[in-house]
Subunit: 347 residues, 3 copies
């Protein structure tokens, strides 16, 4: 796809500094760009690379525009504008409307005639696929599933019985939406399976990453609200609710019945215990474990960075003797007089 | 499915307080229940919701029964009885016996005529599928696999070569049982693959979650004993043994050759190193790392809960100076006289 | 497969102590071996089992050979030699050249006539599959993918658009190579998807484990260099580079744009933040979180081993009061005179 930067400026509301007739056909990094490429700068760190770029045009903000050696597309949010331009220059491959002859589609399913159903996909009875939806190859869409308009299931996506997926949502390969939650009752040393009779409701404009799992509700539904972004290999337990526009990075685990607020940002390998409430606008840094609810917006952490192994071993040994440290400190304070009284809540 | 609570009381051995002719047709939470629903109380916390429920009947224990505004199904273990009633009211969709015409089944496989094989499943030579087994769509059952009676492979389950699955076991989508273990020998800076010639033996009444992986043995087999429950996204390394009726929550990793006892409960994101022995009745709390064997039953932990980021940063800074703390504490004790001698094993 | 140990000695350069006519047909552990089995010893710990073995032959080094009660195949690296012998005795099942009639292969794909394409695999337009490649059942090979010679996709492997896989690489079931990276730009409280226009280049002799995910590059490619071994359930973010012959154990997460050196060994459940550089020959022990770059070779750690829960709770309580400890220690030092001055950088 090739387009003039004049057209881009008009379409995306940029101020253009340079020749509107310059034609670009791809996006690239500042370092790799050539005269047919558009690059972007969202971070002052890249000013040096900006000076040296051979890009045909650069998307940047007014503060950076003065240093731009090429045509400048000046805007308030260069990263978002870049994302929109990249989508124009690099459209997804077109997929023909219709059902691949190798797909197995129940006669009781409703597939919009403008939707695409790829090779060897399975669609069960009572399922509905909306207009312009893209169902890639090897998808499994069970009975009663509802897939909204313009949804994109990249391929090999599993939507279990009665799962609902909102418009424009994108799901990457290997994701399993609506597997049974982990519900068992103990009875005389054995586990009795508790039927998981809820489902999963995924909102509009959600993205779900590769091999991520979202369990169906035990009673009532698991809910992923609109605009949520889930990275790869995430586990969402039964009856969890993830609030609108929250983003969870890879390998996060959220236990059952926890409610996460809106616009939260949860970094990689975080774990959140069950039955908690995390408020809106909470940021959790990588590898933190959350074992009680968080009501106030803010940044929360719980990870200790690495050391060389020998140093770390000594630190762990000291940590394991913190009880003894506390006792010894208190003994010294007693001897020194008075101090221990001030700190008696410390035991 | 609708049923009278009189019948339920007889079938599940409950004492009935109320009209046996009340008919229920679904389960629900205390809050959501209507007169056609049966709810349950297993936790005194829910007494207030019990008082307000509009359920047709409630499953509870004798202690709670007095406060029940509806018909009461009184039993010793309300959670387990609820699970059994839910299974009656919400049966799984029936699946016809026989092989879907789109499935690819080796003529050298043995599929019991009462089993169901779903769309686009593949069954290799020498595989055997037992009576009433449900093989959902998109399953991959390789050569020589044995699937027991009444097994339920929900869909898109992979059972690699020669894997054995016991009766009544349930496996969720995306699970991979019998992939090669991570076995490599180092040779002059390169890795030589060690053939993984064992398999996986999964016992009866096991449940395995979505996208969980259980590696085949290097020599000898990986074993998941009867009644084990594995949640989603768990990794079980080669030659691990998980003892009967143990339950592992999501995102747990168990390294190769480790042996876990019976009736253990292992919470989410726990990691267990290789070649360890974990005894029976061990409970490990969430996010704990286990790097040496555990012989005694009990509860084990290793996770530090989160703080606000600024507080946490200060704690980490202090932690990283524990060596210095120890030195300073000792110096003070030396000055104070005597104390350091008592603690000299502390260095 | 059966073979004389004389032939094995010649083929793998071992010194043979014993009858070259002894025939073996399988590998086994020292304890389980019979006279038709070959076992190995790579660890002095197993000397006692060596003395008691009934193996037909044992692979070991010169130091252990004296204690061997059976024929000895003496070599420098018994583990690597064992691996090679096991591959001879336990060859993978042969797969016929050609495309299974149930596979869906684009007429615009190029499949070498010596390659095997299994049941219900899908190969898109412009894809190329090299000589003797094994594409197991249920694989999804999208448009423009290049699969090298002798590659083995065990089954149910997903290679997204334009992914490249080098010769002899092995990929286990459920792995997703080339899903979209987690790239979003924030715009007025919403996330705008950043098109992920790079791909993934996987080198030769790589192994990728079950349900592992490797994201395609945002701009430019994600790169897995030759000889790398990735275990199960690993997440590799967009634009990561993993250097040649590095090995990553299960459940590791590597965030975007991080560069890992050559010959690194990264243990289970490690997490590595984004945009970091990890040098060559770095070893990271299990469950460590890496939040800054590592330049020097060596061993790095960051995990605190478990304790009984009651002990651990007390340690956590002490840890959470480290600020108070520091203050009290300083106060004591002030009183004692002088010491605090020496340590003032400690605040």
């Amino acid at each position: 796809m090739s387009v003039s930067i004049g057209e881009l400026a008009v379409e995306f509301g940029c101020e253009l500094r340079g020749d509107p007739g310059v034609v670009v056909e791809r996006v690239a990094t500042l370092a790799d760009a050539d005269e047919r490429s558009v690059a972007f700068v969202a971070n002052p760190r890249y000013r040096r690379e900006l000076a040296a770029t051979r890009a045909g045009a650069v998307v940047l903000d007014a503060a950076a525009a003065g240093a731009c050696p090429a045509a400048a597309l000046v805007c308030r949010n260069p990263h978002a504008t870049y994302a929109r331009i990249a989508a124009v220059l690099h459209p997804l491959p077109a997929a023909p409307a219709g059902i691949d002859p190798s797909a197995v589609v129940s006669p009781e399913a409703q597939v919009d005639p403008t939707a695409h159903v790829g090779a060897l996909s399975v669609i069960g009875a009572g399922a509905a696929v909306g207009a312009r939806a893209f169902i890639g190859p090897h998808c499994l869409i069970e009975e009663g599933v509802v897939v909204g308009e313009d949804v994109r299931l990249v391929g090999r996506v599993t939507l279990c019985r009665a799962v609902q997926v909102g418009a424009r949502t994108v799901i990457q390969p290997g994701a399993v939406i609506g597997g049974d939650g982990f519900g068992f009752a103990q009875d005389q040393g054995r586990w009795i399976k508790v039927p998981q009779i809820g489902t999963v409701r995924v909102g509009c404009d959600v993205e779900i990453g590769a091999n991520t799992t979202v369990d169906r509700g035990a009673i009532g539904d698991t809910v992923i609200e609109e605009g949520v972004k889930l990275d790869n290999l995430i586990q969402i337990g039964h009856n969890v609710r993830v609030g609108a526009h929250s983003a969870l990075a890879a390998c996060v685990g959220v236990s059952g019945s926890t409610c996460i607020g809106r616009r939260c940002m949860i970094a990689g390998q975080v774990g959140i215990a069950g039955h908690l409430t995390i408020g809106d606008d909470v940021v959790i840094t990588a590898r933190t474990g959350i074992s009680h609810s968080i009501t106030a917006p803010g940044v929360y952490s719980g990870h200790i960075p690495h050391e060389q192994a020998a140093t770390w071993r000594r630190l762990v040994a000291r940590f394991k003797r913190l009880e003894s440290f506390a006792t010894r400190l208190k003994a010294l304070e007693r001897r020194a007089g008075g101090a221990a009284d001030r700190e008696e809540d410390d035991d």
